[in-house]
Subunit: 204 residues, 2 copies
Amino acid sequence: MTKKIKIEKDTSTEAKIKDAARKVFMQKGFAAARTRDIAEESGINLALLNYYFRSKEKLFHEVMSEKIQQFFGVLFPIINNSSTKLETKIDLIVANYIDMLSENPDLPLFVLNEMKGKRGQINKTLPIEKITKNVSLVQQLQKRRPDINPVHFLMNILGMTVFPFIARPAFGAIGILNKSDFETVIEERRKLIPVWIKAALKAK
Amino acid sequence: MTKKIKIEKDTSTEAKIKDAARKVFMQKGFAAARTRDIAEESGINLALLNYYFRSKEKLFHEVMSEKIQQFFGVLFPIINNSSTKLETKIDLIVANYIDMLSENPDLPLFVLNEMKGKRGQINKTLPIEKITKNVSLVQQLQKRRPDINPVHFLMNILGMTVFPFIARPAFGAIGILNKSDFETVIEERRKLIPVWIKAALKAK
DNA sequence: AAATGATTTAATCAAATGATTAAATTTTAA
DNA sequence: TTAAAATTTAATCATTTGATTAAATCATTT
């Protein structure tokens, strides 16, 4: 049993495996993804994968860390910036999520799905930033609408912005959206969602 | 190879297997669910499962049919009812989804996730009702806001209503929602979402 | 060039898993 | 009550799948 500890460097092979892992895991999820799929996708031998990453779980964990940061990374810099006003934050959250999700449409379903199954593990393993009362956005929302829990507006912004990407296959099946329409609709939403959110902020 | 065609009747054993299948598939998804899990959960022998349902796929398909109908079944009776006005439809969609999802919080993630992976199969196998231009809700939306694609409002209503259930673990991890808060927030949304949607309808 | 260490491969293992079979038991019908 | 059919079980297959191993090849250093 020769155990050689590999110090991670950005070698070509290791990167190829990780690229393939990203693709396969994102497409199929952890359970349905086979290490052989990943090996084939990256054009390397199956043993290499275990040589570099020790196990499917470890490889998955690395991908998952990236993806969680990618998903939440959009949000935190914006909501923590105390030098922008509420309206600007709304515009930025929507615009940045639409930009990012247009490039990674599978991301939200992947992240939210895997977070559900392994709630115990992931929340402890991955250091996820927390939203507290003194986050700038929360304070601004509380000041604007002291009568409404700020979490509602977060749910609204994310719901309106992220949900279409999650439900895209459903919207397709239901007959409302063919492939090219989707992109058009999403681009329209970039301007519309902030308008609606601001209207909701005023609504009594 | 003795093939006995079983005519489905609501026997106790068959129902027990299906109950267990619902539970396990919903909790783990198709790929991560093992037929042994289902057998154990239903208190029967593994062979029984194959005796009654022939295969994991067949059993899954039956559960999936149910769940798709459960998920979309809330929507169609409401949006097709041409004797209710727009505002009523909004209230009903939100209220009925919140009722249903409070009892089945895992449903949306399950359905949307499985619809994505097997888009080809499911959309052809399961007869999903289609939303067309002459659906009552669509006509009402088009009349009220001819400048906006009706699909936007559908995305908004469902996004605001369904997304919180999909993202619940994420909201937990992010530190904004402990278990009991969630139910409180959802109940608040029952009244708030219609207010916000109606405000958005008027927003220019 | 030789030696050492890193990388890659083919072959194989062991466990997990979907499915089947043959026999036993229970239920139903005559 | 008995014969036939339906139900249930234990045991077993065959395949899939994550992982390992031992050997081969390649790269780097001396």
